[in-house]
Symmetry: C2
Amino acid sequence: MITIYDIAKESGFSASAVSKALNGYHDISDKSKNEILKTAQRMGYYPNSIARNLITKRSSSIGILLYDGIGEKNKLGLTHNFFSEILNSFKIEIENNGYFITFISDKSDENYFAHCKSKRLDGIFIVCADFEKKEIQELFGLDKPIIAFDNRNERISSISSDNGEISAELIKQIVGFGYERIYYCLGRESYVTKERLNGVRGALSQINFNKITYINTTFCSIDEGYSIIERVAADNVKRSCVCFTDDYSALGGLKAAHDLRLNVPDDIGIVGFDGIKIGQLLYPNLTTVQQDSHALGRQAAEKLLKLIKNPKEPNEHIVVPSKLLIKDTCRKIIGRT
Amino acid sequence: MITIYDIAKESGFSASAVSKALNGYHDISDKSKNEILKTAQRMGYYPNSIARNLITKRSSSIGILLYDGIGEKNKLGLTHNFFSEILNSFKIEIENNGYFITFISDKSDENYFAHCKSKRLDGIFIVCADFEKKEIQELFGLDKPIIAFDNRNERISSISSDNGEISAELIKQIVGFGYERIYYCLGRESYVTKERLNGVRGALSQINFNKITYINTTFCSIDEGYSIIERVAADNVKRSCVCFTDDYSALGGLKAAHDLRLNVPDDIGIVGFDGIKIGQLLYPNLTTVQQDSHALGRQAAEKLLKLIKNPKEPNEHIVVPSKLLIKDTCRKIIGRT
DNA sequence: CTGTTAGCGCATTCAC
DNA sequence: GTGAATGCGCTAACAG
């Protein structure tokens, strides 16, 4: 392994001169600089970023926290297309700014906190996690910039879609379509769940509609969506609309509706959340809330980079607009009484 | 930041004793060890993995090379569910073994090679890349273990599905179903494309069938699949089957078939490749080749870990069995002449 | 079993 | 402009 000392010896300069040349410092003559760079090139030198990190106390690495989910069935972590898309945009933006992406794990060190400390990560993006857990909240005590998706906390920055507003808009639409009962799925206790619920309640009281049944769900799984529709179908209701917490469970529900030969969308409406591309690919197209995964990832990266570069940058909650995608699985009910 | 020297001073031991205690070495008494660990805990010590990496010359980090794709439209990188699923399994296995996942970027250092050198990565998993590119082949010259998905090269280890065998099996099935012409999409020039083509040709000559048209494609995109079906439909053929390079383009093709009111699967059969879960979620279910993404990721991790831990471990090409998923978009043609 | 010593490769004072 | 010296935090020899 070639070091700056090897280059120094070979080129006749000192190690510090080499270091200066390599890092583009100004207090070195162009002539010496070029000479040094040329020998570095010739000798096949690659800087040791570990040694550099040790002395600069920065790693140029951003930690990603992406919960893997319990077992194979739950669509969390990388296998959930929505989170993947956010992460993909985030990754591109981060890398274009000269930083690196690394996953935070709680397997090697005792926990996430220890891992972040140990690796001297420059910043953290929490894409998907159970924010109610002590292990996650503990992270907020790190002295490093953190931005979290779908959470809100004074101690860190955060980003999410306009869950409340869009949920209110959705409810009004559904009722306007002629549905007479709404089954509304609530995810785990969380910031997002609360926001959506607030939006829903606001809309309900505004339009004076109260035929709503709340269903508590756990994870975003196809299977869970399937069984929810089975349960709803057992009520033998007509003109009902089921709002799922995400597109995967909605697609699971759609599959159940198909298997049970339910009439979608007239007897039963199905609405997703997230707007993953695949929902628009096959028929019927999924009616859903389209979150702007690209903007979410990119803006999360931009904010985190600001926080890293400027210690005075304040924490902030960023809201990204989403939009309703009214397609085939929930739309104006036609005909039939 | 607490260091081992702080702990040493506080506990009255030497720094090396602290280091030994912290790393679970044997040449230290249990009594001293416990005492040291207790004060470390009390002082809120977190090891500096950077300093450790500097001296051990290992990073415990595995680099992931996952090509982002060109622009938003192409389903590559993290947004492609199939690659995400492989990476997810890989990640779980790697982390359970005390290693970390980090993405390789060609943005900060001049190129991938420089990045790997600079970061002192312990191993590399190439999930998705253009292996024809010099920049990728250059990586094979690293003195670090590498495993690549869907490529084969003497200098590294690799893993892929049984592309040739399954493609042969697929062709025989399609002809057996009664299709009279096959449109077979070929991806970019690559190991996989060659393997599949070999399998196809073998099958064709075996069953003495030659009504096949090859279509050259570029990337796995929904749009490309769509336009392929448009082109095929222009031929106004019946009883034709189109084999796509992956499920995304197949789903795009299926959408086109729907829009053009083509009769799937009787007039036109559509076959994907990969077996992403979403293909089985909506109707019609996609007929496809199901690659075992879980096994691919896990076995890639296992092999890479072996290569890292044992320098004598030989490079190897691992083949993971896949299977045909005969569903709705291509199956036995019934009725009609 | 324990402590002393010497670096890992680099960036950064501070003299010159 | 340049080079010698110092130390980031840690592990690994070695000597006791």
